[in-house]
Subunit: 299 residues, 2 copies
């Protein structure tokens, strides 16, 4: 594979800046006596994060010539869903995390009720953004985005994955179970991010399938690397607590395979993800480079 | 006004039955290791509740000849949103309620994490249902429903109202503030329920406006009656704890106006709501009767 990372890192940094503006422009401004929940939404969704999902959406949209501003709205909706999931996952009744992206989590910076409501409002806003006529002139495209996002983030998607993750504290999953957990918890939204670009660009069935396979392998490689970093990483670099899964005695792909085999598996998946992109020209080079990046990253 | 309640009560009972089937058919079946969250969704959304919002949606749809099965899907989506809001509002970090509709609340029957996730998944499902081609052949209609539901239930709608309600524990609102709180917390979704019938039936601007005014007055009359029942009602009949607002020292329209003036205000709003319906023929009679019902109800 070996696609150079030199072009990728500036592109990721540029996306992070672009997305802060894109997200800020689709979220309401804090006003009225309900402004507190809007402040908390903006606190959760702005100024941090790798914007991996937004990057995937924007790059996949670019493959099919999708207008960048419109794709930015879709990417913003996806980042709102990602942010909501982090806010709710961090709650005391879930993972009970106090630091996220180097800042106090929303329930620490505000309070639990505000965090629950800010998550709810971010999720709600995402669907409104996708269905708005500003996102795409064709309402079939907008409805398709809404249906697919609901599938990716609902009970048989991201929420189902978090449900399994909560059960993993008391229930032992085997490698198949953990793989399903990860596919639901993080894989589904990563896959939607790629699919959203294809939907916006009315991509061929072949191109959509290629991106779906790419996303599936990339998502799992990303997750295994996350688990490796959780085990070995430095909390200061990661901006969140580490070794939590291990302390909680929860199985991960890393604890089931061991560090070395898990690392090899992540590398293999990353290489495989690139192979699915062979039908695309050099406009997919940043996606190819991303596969190397997700397994090489230190945070 | 005095529209007879004799036809209304069987119609409400019939709607409650119809909706249990409609909601059951749009929610996923519990399966897979993530099945626990689906069980909790079904526990929260099925087998209880007045189905006031569904009734409004179905009756308003009927005014414009909307297919009842399709309207049932929209009404089911609305009831999912209502159910999610109750699940999250009942959480320990919010209103900390242990009984709802005569049953243990979701976080008591399951646990807090499952309740948060079940609420999230119900909200997510609602948008997927609305955007599905089964709901309406015209995707413009489906997108309009998604955009309007997102507005009614988000930060400047229901979630914003709940945010204000949480603030009301420490902050005194005057009558204008409380009215805004209620308009957001319960009024917005009640108004959307009526508007959804109009959207599905491509109603005229005039008819939509009439229903919007009807819903606004009805919603406030409903809320004042709720507050009166909270103060005076019997927990066994209501199926939930009572006198909570009063104990918590929270202002309501009832505490600000006093019981007698609040009761008069509810009656006045109910009568006024009926006046907005004068452009409709006898097909609006159940909506007219409902106005009397919401202020006369004992639970």
């Amino acid at each position: 594979m070996a696609h150079p990372l030199t072009a990728l890192e500036p592109a990721l940094a540029e996306t992070a800046n672009f997305m802060d503006e894109a997200i800020a422009s689709v979220l309401p401004e804090a006003s009225g006596p309900e402004g507190r929940v809007i402040e908390a939404m903006r606190y959760a969704a702005l100024g941090g994060g790798k914007r991996l999902r937004a990057f995937l959406a924007l790059q996949c949209g670019r493959l099919f010539g999708v207008d960048r501003r419109a794709m930015g709205r879709v990417a913003a909706a996806i980042e709102c869903v990602h942010a909501y999931s982090l806010v709710h996952d961090d709650l005391p009744a879930m993972d009970n995390d106090e630091v996220r992206r180097g800042k106090p989590t929303v329930h620490k910076a505000y309070d639990e009720a505000t965090a629950i409501l800010a998550g709810d409002a971010l999720l709600t806003a995402a669907f409104g953004i996708l269905a708005s006529h500003e996102t795409h002139p064709d309402p079939h495209v907008r409805c398709d985005l809404v249906v697919k996002l609901a599938g990716a983030s609902g009970a048989h998607g991201m929420v189902g994955g978090q449900m399994m993750d909560m059960s993993a504290q008391t229930q032992d999953f085997d490698l198949g179970g953990i793989t399903r957990l990860q596919r639901l918890k993080t894989g589904a939204l990563i896959a939607f991010s790629c699919d959203a670009g294809a939907i916006m660009g009315r991509a061929s069935r072949e191109a959509r399938h290629a991106l779906a396979y790419y996303a599936q392998d990339l998502g799992l490689a990303f997750q295994i690397t996350d688990d490796l970093l959780d085990l070995e990483g430095d909390p200061a670099t990661l901006g969140k607590a580490t070794a939590k899964d291990n302390t909680a005695g929860k199985a991960t792909i890393v604890t089931l395979l061991g560090v070395e085999r898990a690392r090899e598996q992540a590398q293999r998946l990353a290489a495989q993800s690139v192979q699915h992109l062979e039908i695309f020209d050099e406009r997919a080079d940043l996606l190819r480079a991303l596969s190397g990046f997700v397994v090489a990253r230190r945070h």
